[in-house]
């Protein structure tokens, strides 16, 4: 492992810049070390590689081919249940190297000292060229070069099948080829390892043509499922270190409270417990978990906080966002698809719609509350054992908090509950608290948040509203469409324990901050109705609610969640399109086809029409009504493009006006991701996203008062149960001519809400322009 140390300074500054790479790299010949990760011993100057990190320019940091022809791959992306690293990544590497899927026996993921590239558990397929594919393609070329030299056969006369190189009547396996050999290969990389995006591999190595894929496209099983099901996997929750103390954190009374005095432990009851206070961070540690839980409850009862009332409360959320929030400090972002002039048509149109659509805050709500084990060593080295979507970014954040450099921080990655985006910026909540408590007691500390901590002190998906104005002409086509999206900053990556302790963190979201923690609201929902002649899409951003008023600079912290930003923009757009179809007296699905140009968009719409048994007619249905105690049926459709994948969904619902209860009876979704890498894994991911989307549409709303979040458990934040799921049909459209694999499963959660709202309109003739569509809200709407 390289041992060159970083200069102290800005810990979030580039650790391996392009400039450094060129200076140090060039045509560097480095060892293809099959034993592991050692730099070639010799005169060659190594590039600047941070201590406790792998050298990303080394091929073996990405892919190791062993003499027995087995292969190990490494990725900075941790698995969060998508299974991509254990299925698609193995398939992609297998095809690029022309080896069987089974040859890739080991996947090393996430941990910062044994993976090369960082970045987060998102965008796994990298728009068709994830890092691991490029690493495999470069390695393949270098192996062919070596084989050419060794066999004395020109490279273009060589072919590879099942890891055996053949040419000129001779053959050699990869394993034999690389025995005691070096590849002349330097992997070109750029980026900042501990930034949210990590490192990316540069250049365009020759890649296998899609027509020659033999592994991609098949339903290989996810290897980690077997070990999880058999209770043989070590989860983050299972990590126990020698001398480790259990801890709980007593979080402030409100999202703006400061500490007056910390409660004491009753030593007669809890003799081994200890209270630790750092600024506004109050922690309790004890050798056993049950003691610390009880002691922390007692300390919480005795801890005094200042009062704070700086939030609007969820009943007044929309009014606050509309009338009080600052929408002027962040520049308005206009989409690249915006075109023409909407004003004349909006003024003179045949039929018009002007409406506002609102979304509530939602929780990521992992099924297990956040936890972490930290071990701060006497020499200042910090080990963190955790389930985190961006371990390398966490290194930077912890180093900043401690005033040290990221090379002192090692993050060990384990499986855990899905986070759905919450930790993609590097922290999930407990890591920094565990580090501070471990530092204070000089022992490893395990911080486990309780359910209420996780509901009330984690980030949430941003609330939002959108204003739509549209005009429909005499021919029943949209003549002009304007949408203005309003959403508070959606990514706050400050570790909460560091904020409470008053230690350095990155800035709270602000107008000019770089990267993703900005108040600027970009357009995240690509326009798919190319036939609309006049279009304006604007994004308006602001600070998080309560962020500026809170003495802790906390307020309602937001974080990207599954289909981030796009969910908030696609819901109003798609419901408005269904409303436009109704204005035009047109069928909502055919209306979409008639406004699209892109063949793949039309393809998913036609597929979902056929698969759902859609009856072509205008909405609302002719017998629509909004009264009675009998269930009324309706259906709606939605369409989305995300990360190179087209999605369309049809929801068929039953709504009972007297109760306001909506039941989704049938859910059909069509997906065209280009190449389907692994059908069973994609199908399972889409089914899950569909179910989560039904929760978003019907139940999920963060309740908060003037002081903080009042949602505290699964009763106050209901998510779908098995009783809520409809008949779900997933149609996978494998489309190899696209030539790439689009992002797979993330987006399925976004499709249900606008389709269900359109179905409610179809059944009742009433439009609900607010999420979630809880029974009480539906009941109230239907009475109007």
């Amino acid at each position: 492992m390289a041992t060159m140390s970083e200069k102290p300074g800005n810990v979030l500054a580039p650790t391996l810049s392009r400039r450094q790479f060129i200076k140090a790299g060039g045509v560097l010949v480095v060892g293809f070390s099959f034993a592991g990760t050692e730099l070639l011993k010799g005169e060659t100057k190594a590039p600047s590689v941070m201590r406790n990190s792998l050298d990303p320019t080394l091929a073996s940091s990405w892919i190791e081919i062993h003499p027995d022809n087995t292969i190990l791959i490494r990725t900075g992306k941790s698995d969060f249940g998508q299974g991509t690293t254990f299925t698609a990544y193995r398939q992609i590497v297998a095809d690029e190297l022309s080896v069987p899927f089974e040859a890739i026996t080991t996947v090393v993921a996430g941990s910062t000292d044994i993976t090369p590239d960082g970045s987060g558990a998102f965008d796994f397929l990298g728009h068709g060229t994830p890092n691991i594919r490029k690493a495999a393609a470069y390695t393949h070329q270098a192996l062919l070069d070596l084989a050419s030299e060794k066999l004395g056969v020109p490279k273009d006369k060589l072919s590879v099948k099942d890891g055996i190189v053949s040419g000129g009547g001779k053959t050699i396996s990869y394993g034999d080829l690389i025995k005691n050999q070096q590849l002349k290969l330097t992997i070109p990389v750029k980026g900042d390892l501990t930034s949210i995006m990590g490192l990316s591999i540069e250049g365009n190595p020759p890649m296998k043509p899609v027509s020659e894929y033999t592994v991609i496209g098949k339903s290989f099983k996810n290897s980690i499922i077997s070990s999880k099901v058999a209770a043989k996997e070590t989860w983050a929750t299972d990590v126990r270190l020698p001398g480790m103390l259990h801890a709980r954190v007593v979080h402030p009374k409100t999202l703006g409270s400061t500490l007056v005095s910390a409660g004491q432990v009753d030593k007669t009851k809890f003799p081994n417990s200890q209270v630790i206070v750092k600024g506004n961070l109050v922690g309790v540690v004890a050798p056993t978990e049950w003691e610390v839980i009880q002691a922390a409850d007692q300390v919480a009862d005795g801890t005094k906080w200042t009062e704070w009332k700086g939030l609007p409360g969820n009943a007044k959320l929309y009014q606050h966002l509309r009338e009080e929030a600052d929408w002027t400090s962040a520049p308005v972002v206009k989409s690249e698809d915006s075109k023409g002039d909407v004003s004349p048509q909006l003024a003179s149109a045949h039929k018009k719609l002007s409406a506002t659509y609102q979304l509530s805050y939602m929780k990521h709500a992992p099924i297990g509350p956040t936890m972490a084990v930290a071990d701060v060593k006497p020499d200042g080295t910090v080990h963190i054992h955790v389930h985190n979507q961006n371990p390398q970014a966490l290194r930077g954040e912890i180093a900043m908090m401690l005033g040290t450099t990221p090379d002192h921080v090692i993050v060990h990655s384990y499986p855990g509950p899905g986070h759905y985006g919450r930790s993609n910026g590097g922290n999930s909540g407990a890591e920094d608290e565990a580090v501070l408590l471990s530092q204070a007691v000089g022992k490893p500390v395990r911080v486990q948040w309780m359910r209420a901590d996780d509901m009330q002190w984690s980030t949430q998906a941003s609330a939002a509203f959108s204003d739509v104005k549209l005009a429909v002409d005499e021919k029943g086509k949209i003549a002009a469409y304007q949408i203005d999206h309003y959403m508070p900053a959606m990514q706050d990556d400050r570790p909460i324990g560091a904020v409470l302790a008053g230690l350095p963190t990155m800035a709270a979201p602000q107008v000019h901050s770089d990267g993703v923690t900005t108040t600027v609201n970009g357009i995240e929902d690509p326009w798919v109705y190319a036939q609309v002649p006049n279009l304006i899409e604007n994004g308006h951003g602001t600070f998080q609610v309560g962020q500026k008023a809170s003495p802790l600079a906390v307020g309602l912290r937001d974080h990207s969640m599954r289909t981030p930003g796009q969910f908030q923009q696609n819901y109003p757009r798609e419901l408005a399109i269904s409303e436009a179809a109704a204005l035009a007296g047109a069928d909502a699905l055919q209306f979409r086809i008639d406004h699209a140009n892109e063949e793949r968009a039309i393809g998913v719409l036609k597929s979902v029409r056929d698969a759902s048994g859609w009856d072509t007619r205008p909405s609302p249905r002719s017998d629509a009504k909004a009264i009675g105690s009998a269930p009324l049926r309706g259906r709606g459709v939605s369409l989305m493009l995300r990360s190179g994948t087209y999605w369309a969904c049809v929801c068929q619902i039953a709504v009972t006006p007297s109760t306001g209860v909506i039941v989704v009876e049938k859910y059909t979704i069509a997906v065209d991701p280009g190449i389907v890498v692994n059908p069973i894994q994609l199908k399972r991911n889409v089914e899950g996203g569909a179910v989560m989307g039904i929760g978003h549409a019907l139940f999920e709303e963060v309740a908060f008062d003037e002081s903080g979040i009042t949602t505290e458990d699964w009763l106050s934040y209901p998510i779908p149960t098995m009783a809520d799921i409809p008949e779900i049909k997933v149609v996978l459209l494998n489309n190899p001519k696209v030539g790439a694999y689009g992002g797979g499963s993330e987006a399925a959660n976004a499709l249900a809400a606008p389709a269900i709202a359109a179905a409610l309109h179809d059944a009742t003739g009433k439009i609900m322009r607010r999420l979630p569509m809880k029974p009480a809200y539906v009941q109230a709407l239907l009475k109007t």
Binding site: G418, R451, E687, M722, A723
Partner: protein
């Protein structure tokens, strides 16, 4: 000292009588199948079988189950082997049909809740060898103290896996 009967073995633990069984299993006995999800008996991630009944270990005082038979996820293979009269050698190399079906159907996503789902499925299939869709939905929503919750939304895959497990059990393999 409390003596427990866990997965067919007598285990002695030093823990206050009111300690929730979950912490004893995870911290004292290194049985890590049950997970901490809520501590409130609202989600099912911590479920174990107590005398064959699906029970939330996060709210069950350890002393209250000292005389009963506790089965965790780790104990499902042996439970199946005993029910089928398999040899000790064969038992070592088998999984419970529920576990087999969970793998064959590729049911889990993050998998954090699936301990409870497999425990609930085992309870169901031991009393109803061929449950209908309605009966499966009832088992996972209304039969226990709360519904078994999955945030990844794997309910479709769970239903398919329960049906598949029933087939495996019927064949006795």
């Amino acid at each position: 000292m409390i003596t427990l009967n866990v997965n067919g073995a007598r285990r002695e633990v030093q823990a206050p009588a009111d300690t929730p069984l979950l912490y004893v299993l995870r911290n004292d006995l290194q049985l890590i199948g049950p997970q901490f999800g809520c501590g409130l008996a609202q989600c099912g991630a911590c479920a174990v079988l107590i005398d064959g009944k699906e029970t939330r270990s996060c709210v069950t005082p350890v002393a209250s189950v000292a005389s009963q038979e506790i089965t965790t996820l780790e104990g499902l293979p042996a439970r199946w082997a005993k029910q089928k009269g398999l040899s000790a050698e064969a038992a070592k190399n088998t999984l419970h049909p529920v576990q087999q079906a969970w793998i064959e159907e590729q049911t889990p996503q993050c998998g954090f809740c699936q301990n409870g789902m497999m425990i609930k499925a085992t309870e169901l299939l031991e009393s109803n060898a061929n449950p209908s869709l309605t009966q499966i939905k009832a088992a996972f929503t209304t039969s226990g103290i709360s519904p078994n919750l999955c945030r990844c939304g794997t309910y479709v895959a769970i239903i398919e896996a329960v049906k598949h497990a029933a087939e495996i059990m019927a064949k006795g393999r």
